[in-house]
Each structure stands twice: as structure tokens, then as C-alpha cells.
Point group: C2
Chain length 258, copies 2
Amino acid sequence: MTITGATRLFGILGDPVAVVRSPAWWNALFARAGRDAVFLPFQVSAADLPRAWAGLTAIGNLDGLVLTMPHKQAVLPLLDALGPAARLVGAANTVRRLPDGSWEGDMFDGEGFVAGLRAQGIAPEGRRVRQVGCGGAGRAIAFALARAGVAALALEDAAPGRAAALAAEVVAAFPGVAMAGVPDLLVNATPTGLAPGDGMVFDASLLAPRVAVADVIPNPEVTPLVAAARAAGCTVATGRDMFEGQARLAAAYFGIAA
Amino acid sequence: MTITGATRLFGILGDPVAVVRSPAWWNALFARAGRDAVFLPFQVSAADLPRAWAGLTAIGNLDGLVLTMPHKQAVLPLLDALGPAARLVGAANTVRRLPDGSWEGDMFDGEGFVAGLRAQGIAPEGRRVRQVGCGGAGRAIAFALARAGVAALALEDAAPGRAAALAAEVVAAFPGVAMAGVPDLLVNATPTGLAPGDGMVFDASLLAPRVAVADVIPNPEVTPLVAAARAAGCTVATGRDMFEGQARLAAAYFGIAA
């Protein structure tokens, strides 16, 4: 990579940001695509987002940003325009500068998750899904699964009332989806599996070859759930598959074929 | 260069910025020094400086900035502390984040110019200097030459009154320096030589082997003045020597041996 005065800037905004792995993926993409561009980590605290946003968007050669914790919802009021998934989910993970200088954002976490399923041969159409976790990632995934045509979506969350509230929102947007059924796709949209010693959010008795399993944790890619699901003969999509799906959609949003 | 989430950020703020060559120098330095850091171009207009400054300083992994046109004077009121050369010259070209989170700046254009002279074997002590150009670069150079112990400094500028005003400031700070004398060091601190077809600010009759010549133009490095001076047997320091001197001082200011 050679950075010159003419190099275009992209980056990921988060806190913490030292742990993110996306710069390697993006800079490899720019090299393959022959783009004079670089993807950077920007460490910005929740309190500093409005100030950092105003300053970053004043940099003329900054063309796009990816947002991670804790900024995906907080960025919404700072944007000039929202794509359809960002409007539904109430959060954005990718923002770009438009030719008129305004900033538009959209949410590719859910669509990226669905792309990750498809990459592993797990077609979502007609599936009966059981999803644990209705926080930021879970919201994005639930809307994207409903949009992709799952037959049923049973939502669970440790926080009282959260799953029912999200279910009502999803049914309002996609009336065809039911909210129960014997599952054949299990989704972990919680942080369980991130920390050493974590267990898994599903009982092992649910794992069988006819059941597909998807996890949102990219690192470690092989969580206890992923390991147990593979051992039980399930088809599995990992958090890395979700990351790849999301990052490809974000790259296309920036006008770069990935 | 491998950029990770933990990579530290440095950069140059200017407008235009696409023409700057410093990212290559800095990124080669980071590689040699084994620093997980990257140096970037930040295109920021004069009007956007306060907004960009507020935002850039909100980025926790941004450790330092170099400033070029049109920001060297405008950045002063944004800084929490100034080094001695920045105070004298009324401008800063290098700013760094201190451990307490405040920002301090100093001006290395003049000291870098003197370092470039020394790198070419041109000791400034006792020299009688004739300098054309009393703008931003010229101010920094005049103070640094006086500080380095030149005997005399004859200043010229196309703008009426500008050279006399700077001379008064330099004499007030360094009373030992005279403001006339037959020159043995000729300094071009104007943009003449930057554009194709430019001539030179000194009459060719002044060029002789006992006279040293210094130019501030880094690109093209061989200006008509540099070419004529070399042909006449003068010792020459180019704008590239000044850039190297300035960049080494800025790197030391960031805590990196260059």
C-alpha cells in the first residue's frame, strides 16, 4: 500500500476500536480493486460522536465510514438521508458522502447476515427461525430474515419485553411472518461466545442435521455453539460469514465491487 | 504496511493536499522505526479548519498532525500550548497530543531549513544573508537564521512594507543581527520556481562559488535558481533538504527518531 496526498480515506468509527479486524479486509479489497484508498480505525467515544462526525465530514478526501459499537443508533440524527434498512432497524452501519456533499447511511448487518447464510448454502426462504438476542445486531437480523421470506421467527431476549416489542415491529413491517413454529434455523444474536468460558444460548438437544445454525460472533469464529453445531451435523454460518456479507454490501454501497 | 484496529494515526492537513509528498516519507519512517502508525492526507479547506480540528482531536488514536497551507497561522488559536518558534513566528506546522489530552504546537519550517543548510555543509554562523520572500515560509526562515547566528540578514518582499516589518520583529528578538551586508547566502523563500516557465528571484551575476544558495521549493527540487547556482559552482540546499530537516524535527517532536 502506498499512501500519497491523493489517497482517499475510509474508516471504521468505534469504541473500543483497537480490537476491530476490518481494516485488513478493506485494505486487501482496495489493493485488489486497484483503488488509491486506505481504510483506517477511528477511535471515538460515544460522547464525542457529534464532534468527531462534524470534523470527519469536513475532510474533503474522506468518502465513507463504517460504524460499530456504540455509534450505530447515535449516528442516525447526524445523517441527511437514510436507506430502507436503516429506517426499519433504526440504526446505520455504513455511511457515504453523496456527490452534493450530503451524507447518507444504511444498515447492512442484517442483509450481511442473510448473505452469510446463503454463502453457506442456508436459504432463509420458508425457514422457521428461533433467534436469541434482540439488541442492535438482533434487530437488524430479525428484519432482514423477515424480508428474506422466513415462514416463522421466534424471538427471545433476556431483557423483559424486548423480544415482544421487536416481534410487533417486524410483523407490522412484514405481516406474512409468523412468530412461532418448530425451528429449523437457530440464530445467536447475543454476545455469548465472545468471552473465554462462555457456553451457548441453545440447548444441545436442539442441534440436529436438519437444523441450520448461525452465530454473529466473528472472533473467535468457532464459538462453543458453532463447534457443537458442526459436531451435530448442522449446516453452520459463522460471524465471519456475516462480516463478509456485510462488508461486501458496504463496499458495493461505496461503489466498489467486492 | 499493515493497518489494524490498533494502528495510530498521523497526517497532514492542507488545501490542496493531493499534491503533498510527505505521506511517503512518513510511512517509510514508521516502517523503519517499527511503529504501528500511518500518515494520511487530510483535505480541509480554510473555512472548515475549526470544525475539522474539533473532530480530528476527538479521535482517540490520532496522535499528531502536520499543517500546511492555508492552516499554519489559523491553527494557533486552536492550540492549548505553543513552542518557542511557533510563538516567535506566529504560526505552527506540527501539533501533538500531550498525555493530558491537550494539544501543543511548534514551527519547524525555519529550523528545518537551517538543518537542510547544515546537511549540505552550509554553516549559517556569521553568514550575510539576502532573503527574498517574507511570507509564511520566509518568516519562519528569517527567525531561524537569526537564531542560528547569521551576521546579517537583508530581507526583500514584493509586498510593500512586509520586509521592513519582519526585519523589525527579527531584530527585536535577535538584536545581534544586522540588516545589510554583501551576501554570501542567498535564500529564495517565495513560490518562484514552482511553476513551469518561472525564472529566478536573484540576478545571475550574484551567483559565484563563494556564495551559498538555498531554495524552499521541494518540487521540482531543481528549480531554475538551483540549476543556475550549481552551474556557477555555488553550494546549494534545496527545498527537499528543507523538507527533510523539517520532517526529522517534526518526527522527533512526535517521539520518533528519524
